[in-house]
Symmetry: C2
Subunit: 316 residues, 2 copies
C-alpha cells in the first residue's frame, strides 16, 4: 500500500506524519534527534519512521514520497539555502532517506510554504487556487500560492512577507539586519514587545508575561479590558493589514489565511484586522476573505507530504 | 499563412501590430478611431486591420489570434474591469472582431501585463521565467511573471505596484483615493512634481517644463548638474527601490525590467536605483538584475499578441 511521509524538521526533534496518497493522516509522531549531520542521527530518523510504518502494516518500500519541511529558504530547483536556526546536512539526510525508502521522491519545502500547501491539500484553502497563508509565529513567513503553485522565488525568498518594510523609522534592528520589518510587530515576540512597551510608556504594570513570545497572556489581558493590550494588538493589526495591502497590489490573492502561534488569538483580532485592511487596501481587493488557517501546527507536515507527491507526479 | 494581431487600445486611436506566430513583427500601424462603443467604430477597426492584412498578402481568415491591450484591470478569467481612461465596450468589440476574423482566439490583457509578456516573448526577458516589468509612465503598473505565467490577480489587481504604499505620511491623494502610492513619485507626473517641489522649496527657478509629464526636461536638467533634479530623481529611486524590495519579499523575481516613458532616463537613474535597492532589499535578493525593458512602447502590442496565441494553444 502506497504511503507518504511528511517530516517537520526542528532543532532537537522531527515530527513525522504518515499519510495515504489521498491525504489521510494515519499517524503523527515526534522523534527526538541529535543534530541531523551524522549517519547516527540519520539512522535515528529512518529507524523511527520504519517503526511507524510497521505499526501500520507497511514497509519502507511502500513509501512513494517524502516531504521535508525546514525553517529556511528553498529555491525553485529544490536547493536548500542558509538555515540559521537548525543544524542540518540536507544532502546527507536525503542520502539516508533514499537508501531506506528507495521508491520515495524526496522534496524539501520551506516551512511557511509547506503550511500553505497543507492548507490547500486538506485545510481551509481546499480548492482555492490563489491565496496567501501568513504564519505569525516565532517569525513571520508566508506561503504565496498562485494558480495552485507556490511561489518559491528566484533566490528562495518568495513569501518572506515578514520582511516587508512597514515602518521605515523603526530604530530597532530586525533579525535580517534591516529596520521596520513586519516581523518586528506581528511575530509572537513582536506582539509581546508592543504590549510591554505600551505599558512602560503609560507607566502601567503589565500582566505577567511568562516569556518573550507569550502572546496568550497578551490576548487574555485584551479580553479582560487591558488598554495597553488593545493598543498593542491594534498596532499589530495595522502593520499586518498594511503588509497585506502591499501583497494585494502585487499578487492580489483571492484569500488570506492567518496561521502560526499568534493565530491562537485570531477570533480576538480578526475584526480589527479586517477593518484596517478595508481601510488600507486598493479598492478592488478590499473584500478579500481573511480567515484562520485550519490545520494548526500540522499544516506544514501535510504540505511537505503534498509537495513530495506533486513532485513525484511531475517527474513521472 | 497564419497571422497574429496585437492591438494597443488607446483613447483616440489603436495601434495594430501584425505578427507571424513566431513573433516577427510584419507591420505596425496606428489607426485613429472614435470611442469604441458603436458598430461604426468597430468597423473602423476591422476594416483598417483588413487593409493591413491585404497589404501583406493575407486575409481575415488567416488571423488565428488577436490580443487586445487595455489600460485597466483584466481578471484571471479574462473579464475586463473598470476602465477610467477610455471609452470601450469590450463585448461589442470582441463581437465585431470575431465576426471579421472567425478563426481568431481573442484575449484582453492589461497594458502593463501585456508589456511584460511582450518582453518575455521577444524582448529583454526572453527565456526568463520569473521577472517583474515595472512600467513608469502616466501611471505606474507592472507585469509580474512567475513560472512563465502572468499573475493577473483574483480581483484583477495583480501587478498594481503603482499602488504599493511607500509614504504613509503623504498629504496628497493618489488617483486611487489613498495616500503615498509609488505612482505619486515614480510616474512621469510624479517625477516632474518632485522636481518642481524641490525648486520651490529651495527658491530656485526650475528649467522650463513643457507639461506635467515632461520628465525629459528633468533628466536633461539632471545631466546639466541641476541639484533639484538630482534630489527629485534620488527620491524617485528611493521610493521605487523600496517598492521593489517589498516585491522581492513576496514573489522574489529573478529580474526587474524598467519600462514606460520615464525609462527613457534609465541610464541616468539606474546606478542610483541599483544602489538604493542593494541597501533596502532583503539580503538573498540584493543582486537581482535591474535592467531597461527592450521593446519600448511596442512591448504591450507584442505581449497581447503572445497572450492570445497562448490562450489559443491552451484551448486546443
Amino acid at each position: 500500500m502506497d504511503r507518504v511521509l511528511g517530516i517537520d524538521i526542528g532543532g532537537t526533534s522531527i515530527k513525522v506524519g504518515l499519510f495515504t496518497p489521498e491525504g489521510e493522516l494515519l499517524e503523527e509522531r515526534k522523534i527526538p534527534t541529535p543534530a541531523l549531520t551524522t549517519d547516527d542521527a540519520y539512522a535515528v530518523v529512518t529507524s523511527g519512521i520504519t517503526r511507524i510504518l510497521i505499526a501500520h502494516d507497511s514497509t519502507p518500500a511502500d513509501v512513494i514520497a517524502c516531504g521535508l519541511d525546514i525553517p529556511g529558504p528553498v529555491a525553485e530547483d529544490g536547493t536548500v539555502g542558509f538555515l540559521p536556526n537548525i543544524e542540518l546536512d540536507p544532502e546527507g539526510l536525503v542520502g539516508a532517506i533514499t537508501a531506506t525508502f528507495p521508491r520515495a521522491t524526496v522534496a524539501f519545502v520551506n516551512d511557511a510554504n509547506a503550511a500553505a500547501l497543507g492548507e490547500m491539500w486538506a485545510g481551509s484553502a481546499r480548492g482555492v487556487q490563489s491565496f496567501v497563508l501568513i504564519a505569525l509565529g516565532t517569525g513571520v513567513g508566508a506561503g504565496v500560492v498562485v494558480g495552485g503553485r507556490l511561489i518559491a522565488g528566484a533566490f528562495g525568498a518568495g513569501g518572506e512577507v515578514g520582511h516587508i518594510t512597514v515602518e521605515r523609522d523603526e530604530p530597532l534592528t530586525c533579525g535580517c539586519g534591516r529596520h521596520g520589518c513586519l516581523e518586528q510587530y506581528a511575530s509572537a515576540k513582536g506582539v509581546v514587545r508592543l504590549y510591554l512597551e505600551e505599558c512602560e510608556h503609560r507607566g502601567v504594570k503589565p500582566v505577567d508575561v511568562e516569556h518573550a513570545t507569550d502572546t496568550l497572556s497578551v490576548f487574555q489581558a485584551l479580553s479582560s479590558g487591558d488598554e495597553c493590550a488593545a493598543i498593542a494588538i491594534d498596532k499589530m493589526c495595522d502593520y499586518l493589514a498594511l503588509a497585506m495591502s502591499q501583497i494585494s497590489c502585487i499578487v492580489d490573492p483571492g484569500m488570506y489565511l492567518i496561521g502560526g502561534g499568534v493565530a491562537g488569538g485570531f477570533s480576538t483580532f480578526a475584526p480589527k484586522l479586517r477593518e484596517r485592511f478595508q481601510e488600507l487596501a486598493l479598492s478592488p481587493c478590499r473584500d478579500v476573505k481573511i480567515e484562520a488557517a485550519g490545520l494548526g501546527n500540522q499544516a506544514a507536515m501535510y504540505g511537505c507530504a503534498y509537495e513530495a507527491l506533486r513532485l513525484r507526479a511531475e517527474q513521472q
